[in-house]
């Protein structure tokens, strides 16, 4: 069963209790929340995702809720609960869905050490993966959303899971987190993309999530072999350039952006070394999304 097969009432009641067992890539999360914004966010963004039954195994159990204090009438807040604890400070109530998204990322990056996890977006074409590692502000998510709207399959926006045995990218397709100007950039670039209303004044500025394309969700169990590593560099006014990078430097950038490189020791080193040895490495400077997407499309055409 998928989420859109539940009526809005069924979805709300399941989220309230006992929780919705939602599959995203290899991860099943039991999500509980009575907050309308979370119910609506799940209904929009996760419409095509599989719902697991009560007899299944949930990797994580999370809850997004407002505390039962007087404060909820005055300046309502939400907490993210995981394993009976609240790992983050509360956020204003209108950021509830964003908090769920950040919390789900945290669950994976802190626990799924069966993978080498890199802070990178990844997209796929013809079975080959393009990795976009980068810090916030580099244009990683914008590029990822752009590519995912033009024929590339979305593998993930934040967390690239590398299978330790095969070195392949294990997809974790989830909504793409867009910040500030990139929200309008994507609205213009891909008018058909579904975004939820932006939430302002978060720690990351204004945030809106873009729904993952349906095909990427349906093909969420198909791994992809890394083929390109592109370090995105958004620079106002820059004309697009795609410059080959040294493998050594790119290796270091991947290692710096890994959440659990230290956990895997030698195995992690060898995995990244092999990934780099079989990939072409570039830096993509850009200011206009159209140009950057075209340049990266060119990469795929060349192979």
């Amino acid at each position: 069963m998928i989420v859109s097969e539940l009526s809005p009432e069924e979805l709300a009641s399941r989220l309230a209790s006992p929780g919705l067992r939602l599959r995203t890539g290899p991860v099943v999360t039991r999500i509980q929340s009575r907050l309308t914004s979370v119910v609506q966010g799940v209904a929009l963004h996760y419409a095509h995702y599989a719902v697991e039954g009560e007899g299944s195994f949930a990797d994580f159990r999370v809850r997004v809720a407002s505390p039962h204090s007087l404060r909820r009438w005055l300046k309502p807040q939400v907490y993210f609960h995981f394993d009976g604890a609240s790992p983050f400070l509360p956020l204003p109530a209108n950021q509830a869905f964003a908090m769920l998204e950040w919390g789900l990322n945290w669950c994976v990056s802190n626990h799924c050490h069966q993978y080498l996890i890199i802070h990178a977006a990844a997209v796929e074409r013809s079975g080959l993966a393009l990795l976009l590692p980068g810090p916030p502000g580099s244009g990683k998510s914008t590029l990822c959303a752009g590519l995912a709207s033009r024929g590339w399959r979305l593998l993930c926006d934040e967390l690239t899971l590398l299978d330790l045995a095969t070195g392949s990218v294990v997809p974790l397709p989830r909504p793409i987190s867009l910040k500030n100007e990139s929200i309008d950039v994507i609205r213009r670039f891909a008018p058909e993309a579904r975004l939820n209303p932006p939430v302002h004044d978060t720690v990351k500025g204004s945030v809106a999530h873009m729904k993952a394309p349906e095909q990427s969700v349906i093909r969420g169990a198909e791994p992809a072999r890394p083929r390109w590593v592109v370090l995105p560099r958004f620079e106002r006014g820059a004309t697009v350039s795609l410059e080959q990078q040294s493998r050594a430097r790119t290796f270091m950038r991947l290692a710096e952006n890994a959440f659990n490189y230290d956990v895997h020791g030698r195995r992690g080193f060898e995995l990244l070394a092999n990934l780099i040895a079989t990939s072409d490495c570039f830096e993509c400077r850009f200011s206009l999304l159209e140009d950057a997407v075209e340049a990266l499309d060119g990469l795929a055409r060349r192979t």
């Binding site: 290899p26 099943v28 009560e54 007899g55 299944s56 195994f57 949930a58 990797d59 159990r61 394993d83 009976g84 604890a85 626990h111 799924c112 050490h113 069966q114 230290d262 956990v263 895997h264 020791g265």
Partner: protein, 353 residues
């Protein structure tokens, strides 16, 4: 029985579990910081491959994390050892660090939050200076905290390495100076053992290791890791219990070190909860540390609650009251009433600011 306790006692008994019960197990084990310990149990018995794929992924992930921590702790201990070589002071590793370097089963799949060492009080200033030179700096910087640790506690204010961010606790005793029980650190140091292949590093004698673990569990305010501490205790007793002369020496040492009360509690709770084999004679010997009946009833109510795996039901009002009372009790045991009042008042006032 709770899946986590079953996993700690007898991993094989879990193989018939259904997925929802595996989910409960992973949840309980993760909360108790024991997931990697559970993984080590399956691994030891060669059962990991028989665990269903979904929970197995968590066990493998936890195992990788614990392995990385163990490697890191070994490197860290080597760095501490190098930094302190010139002082000539004996350095006794405590708790997890000791289990790891001594190759004890208690180290299998154990997670670390910090490294603990014990040095003679007379060498404290020199040890602190040498560690600071090597990059360890105090984490508690307010004058009150400094004074609190240096006058009343059994350790220096925790040190953090400026580059590696690792935390080191330097102890000169196993209980605060102000505590009612007064185990003599000189005796612990005198009985400590060298480690094979390590010219300077030492660990406590087996009986002292057990008594320290018991003391830590039953006099500490860190209630979140209680079950983890009980697992340490169980593992040490199972490992040393087969050695000739261990049990009589343990009872005698508890009396000698003024630790008959924590010793009593240790056996009282570890045995029914983790099914640790303890000879009947030792249980009788331990009665010497038995508290008055009313107190014992209260302690039973508290400990049997806080030592249970932390599932949703255990977060009821009684369990949280039990955890709260253990925090208060730990402080009560650490300091005389007047000093405690001053300390808590001072902490409360500072929080106001």
């Amino acid at each position: 029985m709770e899946p986590l306790l079953l996993a700690l006692r007898d991993p094989e008994a879990l193989l018939g579990l259904k997925l929802p019960q595996w989910e409960v197990l992973v949840n309980q084990a993760r909360r108790a910081n024991l997931l990697s310990r559970v993984a080590a149990g399956f691994d030891r018995d060669g059962l990991l491959r028989e665990v269903p794929v979904a929970p197995r992924a968590h066990l493998l992930a936890a195992r990788a994390l614990a392995q990385a921590q163990a490697d890191a702790v070994r490197r860290e201990i080597a760095a501490i050892d190098r930094s302190l070589a010139a002082t000539g002071a004996p350095v006794v590793l405590l708790k997890g660090a000791a289990y790891l370097l001594a190759g004890l089963p208690a180290a299998r799949g154990r997670l670390f939050t910090d490294i603990d060492i014990l040095v003679p009080r007379a060498a404290l200033a020199e040890v602190e200076a040498a560690l600071m030179l090597a990059g360890w700096a105090g984490m508690k910087t307010t004058p009150y905290d400094q004074r609190y640790y240096r006058r009343w506690m059994h350790e220096l204010p925790p040190l953090k390495h400026i580059a590696r961010q690792t935390v080191l606790d330097v102890h000169h005793a196993i209980l605060p100076l102000t505590a009612r029980l007064k185990p003599d650190s000189a005796k612990l140091l005198a009985a400590s053992r060298t480690l094979p292949g390590e010219p300077r590093l030492r660990v406590l004698a087996p009986v002292d290791m057990v008594l320290h673990s018991a003391t830590h569990l039953f006099c500490n305010e860190d209630v979140g890791n209680s079950l983890r501490d009980l697992v340490d205790l169980d593992s040490l007793l199972c490992c040393f219990g087969n050695k000739k002369g261990f049990w009589p020496a343990l009872s005698a040492r508890a009396a000698e070190l003024d630790l008959t009360r924590p010793f009593y509690y240790a056996l009282r709770y570890v045995q029914p909860i983790l099914n640790t084999p303890v000879p009947a004679q030792v249980l009788r010997d331990a009665e010497i540390g038995r508290p008055p009946s009313a107190l014992r009833g209260l302690m039973d109510a508290i400990f049997f609650r806080t030592l249970q795996p932390d599932r949703a039901a255990a977060t009821d009002g009684l369990a949280s009251l039990a955890r709260g009372s253990l925090y208060v009790r730990a402080h009560w045991l650490r300091m005389p009433p007047l000093l405690l009042a001053l300390h808590l008042t001072s902490k409360a006032l500072r929080r106001e600011q």
